[in-house]
């Protein structure tokens, strides 16, 4: 076993240890054991950082990969399935190393932050235990080398997410939100499991490596349609976990959880697990499956961005922005901008965690006020939060010099390239939606910054009743915060909440990832994470040929001028589109090479368009909220149908209520009727039958059997009554009877004598 593997197993198990210690002993430990959670996560991060250093910095090899596995369960030869061995294993490649460091770092920061944010909560110790098991599950997903173990950890993540969303389970809304999240995730997970089974049915292995090898060797026995179906089904897991379009409804509701949890789970790690999973299975996805993924991502990004514009709850804006950004990542994977999507995953994790922790600091300081309409003017009171929040916002909006700029533009460039390669038309919808969402992102983040930090404080504008109700809902930790803040109002949070903000904000700046603020492709990340060659067989091959022969040729010249304009060798761009080579990596699949190439070509186009869109968005936010040239309230009234459409989240909850929930209720009612009428009818019929038979038996018993017994008794009774009359007790009567008997005998004797 490689020493890095050993270390990674230690990293995996440390948070589990934290969970076990804290769940059982938190009440017996000083400070409810929070130092154990923070300390263990600190060690885990230190080891992860060492792994990161060894893999990324020292080795610096895009093809780096070490793996180790063992047979966990050997079920032998299962009838109808064949030999069934379930293995567990660890794989470390560049992606794993980066994810490992990212997850442990954010988890550590969230632990640290929570010591401030959650202080005084009655379930303080249990909270840290839950964070521990979440981190464990997430690291399990990151390290897994096969579909089976990834599925196990996938479900564990779902469970810990459920526990943490419903942490304030006394609140009805939190309990509802946790159920909603769990159920929405189940829907996706069923699809994912079916996808795993399709692959398993063909290859009799769960291991990624073996599946890819078998697939490359053309051992997939079914048609390509099945492979596409498998890809889409596996993607359903991502749709659930990463809150993509049909199942996105749970994520905004998940904001009922504590804010640091939102930062850890619903912004940085768990929701990224879906994207990570799609990246892991990227090589089995057929072009058709990728198209589905790309359109899902684009639609999600656009829809969530439009909803985020009108939300008033500070966390809900961020939640929809998260959905939107996840849409970008999925879009990126769908269009084949693999490394860009993962790049965005990592950068987004840092700046979104920063935003959530920042909003947590604001909520904490505002006495659990979450409605942005009643904030304002916090810039003066909370300079640290303001600075970090603004930096992260710029990264989210995608302004140059930030990490988000590089990653988002890489995705959008990929989308343009994809649309070109696929031959335009409907495929241009993807980059168009992407750019439009970028503008919306800039607009709603500008709105948020302005409402929260600038202007005058609007706390006093809030209706009193509402405020009171809000207080009761948060009674669990208001007790604490009120003591602290009631005298001197809003002020900056303490160091243990400030430090994570600063670290995360630092990680949102471009120089961490690339020396060139305009091109993430020059950085270490894009070099280390390269698009793997897909292995989807002949169909893909044909498609590639088709592209190379027909479609690619006319589209490529359009890309060339753009490339040429920025000083890149046009020859290199034009010449290598067949089996193109980039960054020392050869692609077996021409289509993919084509997309990468075109995406690279569209790099500056993307930068220009997206910068324009972002500036447009920000200026619009300025026009509306800073200069008040357009009054937001009046505009809302003027375009009321659109406004309400966005405010009510595209009515998805209502649509689901009307279709799935009502439908389920209808089916439940039908089944209930069936149960009550038919099934119960059969049971009741049988019961009636038995009852009638029993009544018959009863009659027989009562009249015949008892009749006989009673008749005997009656006879004896009557005879007795008669005889009783004879038994007078008087001696003389007896004498008379004696004489009568003698007389009778004489009569009898004499009669006999005569005849």
């Amino acid at each position: 076993m490689h020493s890095l593997i050993q270390l990674s197993i230690v990293v995996l198990l440390l948070p589990l240890l934290s969970f076990v210690i804290l769940i059982f002993f938190n009440r017996r430990l000083p400070r409810r054991g929070d130092f154990i959670g923070v300390g263990i996560l600190g060690s885990a991060f230190a080891i992860s950082a060492y792994i990161f250093w060894s893999v990324i910095v020292q080795t610096y090899d895009p093809a780096f990969r070490i793996a180790w596995d063992f047979t966990w369960i050997d079920l032998g030869n299962v009838p109808g399935v064949g030999p069934l061995q379930i293995k567990m294993g660890v794989v470390i490649d560049n992606l794993t190393a980066i994810m490992l460091a990212m997850v442990t770092l954010i988890s550590l920061l969230v632990h640290l932050y929570s010591t401030g944010y959650m202080a005084g909560d009655k379930n303080y110790g249990r909270y840290f235990a839950f964070l521990g098991i979440f981190t464990f599950s997430m690291l399990g997903i990151v390290l897994s080398d096969n579909l089976f173990s990834i599925y196990i950890f996938w479900e564990l993540v779902g469970l810990s997410s459920y526990l943490l969303i419903g942490f304030f389970f006394e609140k009805q809304s939190a309990a509802d939100a946790q159920k909603k999240a769990f159920l929405a995730n189940r829907v996706g997970d069923i699809g994912m499991w079916l996808g795993i089974l399709i692959l398993y049915s063909q290859f009799h292995t769960f291991s990624f490596e073996q599946i890819y090898a078998n697939l490359a060797a053309g051992q997939f026995g079914l048609s390509n349609g099945w492979l596409t179906a498998a890809g889409i089904l596996l993607f359903m897991g991502c749709v659930g976990k990463s809150a993509q379009f049909p199942l996105h409804v749970w994520l905004p509701d998940a904001m009922e959880g504590p804010t640091p949890v939102s930062a850890l789970i619903h912004a940085a790690t768990m929701v990224a697990a879906g994207v990570y999973f799609v990246a892991r299975i990227f090589v089995v996805l057929t072009p058709d499956a990728l198209h589905v993924i790309a359109f899902t991502g684009a639609l999600t990004a656009f829809m969530a961005a439009t909803i985020a514009i009108t939300q008033n709850d500070i966390k809900r804006v961020l939640a929809y922005s998260t959905v939107s950004q996840l849409g970008y990542m999925v879009l990126g994977l769908g269009v084949g901008a693999y490394s860009a999507a993962l790049f965005h995953l990592v950068t987004h994790a840092f700046f979104k965690a920063c935003l959530f922790l920042g909003s947590g600091a604001i909520i904490h300081a505002m006495h659990h006020e979450q409605d942005m309409r009643w904030m304002g003017g916090l810039r003066k009171h909370m300079p640290w939060t303001f600075a970090t929040f603004t930096l992260a916002t710029l990264a989210l909006a995608g302004l140059p010099l930030t990490s988000g700029f590089m990653s988002k533009d890489a995705i959008l460039a990929g989308a343009i390239g994809f649309a070109k390669v696929e031959g335009g038309g409907i495929f241009y919808l993807i980059p168009v939606l992407g750019f439009f969402s970028a503008m919306l992102t800039a607009f709603y983040m500008g709105r948020q910054i302005w409402l929260v930090f600038f202007g005058e404080s609007r706390t006093h504008l809030k209706p009193a009743d509402d405020h009171h109700a809000g207080h009761h809902a948060h009674a669990s930790h208001d007790e604490h915060t009120d003591e602290h803040h009631s005298e001197h109002g809003v002020h900056e949070v303490s160091w243990n909440m400030r430090a994570p903000l600063v670290i995360l904000a630092t990680l949102s700046v471009f120089f961490v990832y690339s020396p060139d603020p305009l091109d993430g492709g020059k950085g270490w990340f894009m070099k280390m994470i390269q698009t793997p060659a897909t292995v989807v067989g002949e169909n893909n091959h044909q498609k590639g040929e088709l592209l190379a022969a027909g479609v690619a040729a006319p589209t490529l010249p359009e890309a060339v001028p753009t490339v040429a304009a920025h000083g890149e060798a046009p020859a290199a761009a034009a010449g290598e589109h067949g089996g193109a080579e980039k960054g020392g990596h050869t692609y077996a699949d021409p289509r993919q090479a084509e997309i990468i190439h075109a995406g690279h070509g569209a790099h500056y186009t993307a930068i220009y368009i997206s910068s324009i869109m972002v500036l447009l968005g920000i200026s619009l936010a300025f026009v509306v909220y800073v200069f008040r040239i357009i009054d937001p309230e009046q505009t809302a009234i003027a375009i009321q149908p659109l406004y309400l459409f966005s405010l009510n989240k595209w009515y998805w909850d209502e649509i689901y209520e009307a279709t799935f929930i009502k439908g389920s209720m209808l089916i439940a009612n039908i089944l209930s009727w069936f149960d009550a009428t038919i099934v119960d009818g059969i049971v009741n019929g049988a019961a009636t039958l038995v009852r009638n038979f029993a009544l018959l038996n009863d009659g027989f018993d009562r009249h015949v059997v008892d009749g006989m017994v009673n008749f005997t008794a009656f006879t004896v009774n009557t005879t007795g009554a008669v005889l009783r009359k004879l038994q007078t007790g008087k001696v003389q009567t007896y004498v008379v009877m004696l004489l009568l008997a003698v007389f009778g005998y004489f009569v009898f004797y004499l009669t006999r004598l005569i005849y």
């Binding site: 038994q727 007078t728 007790g729 008087k730 001696v731 003389q732 004498v735 008379v736 004489l739």
Partner: protein
């Protein structure tokens, strides 16, 4: 008249039958326990007469012996019966056999 001088077995038996009849009548109809006892004596003596009569006309001594035995038994019986009557009287303050019916219990 001749008939009167020659007293035969039938005369004895007739007397005996009358005695038995009187005895039975007394036993069945009288209310006084003493009279009932007397009726019993009459019945016994009717039997005695029968014994003696048959003994005389049959020529054996068995009937005489039986009669003597009956007389002894009757004496004992009378003694016991009177004792019972005395006790009955002590308990019921009456010797009216028609009103004493505790035998049926």
């Amino acid at each position: 008249m001749e008939q009167l001088t020659t007293i035969g077995l039938n005369h004895y038996l007739t007397i005996s039958a009358f005695l038995l009849g009187f005895g039975l009548f007394a036993v069945m109809t009288r209310k006084n326990a003493i009279v009932v006892l007397m009726g019993v004596e009459l019945i016994l003596n009717a039997a005695n007469i029968n014994f003696l009569a048959f003994s005389k006309y049959n020529g054996g001594m068995e009937g005489v012996m039986f009669a003597l035995f009956v007389i002894v038994i009757a004496a004992a019986e009378a003694a016991i019966a009177l004792a019972i009557v005395i006790n009955i009287y002590k308990i019921f303050k009456s010797v009216d056999v028609s009103s004493i019916d505790s035998l049926k219990e």
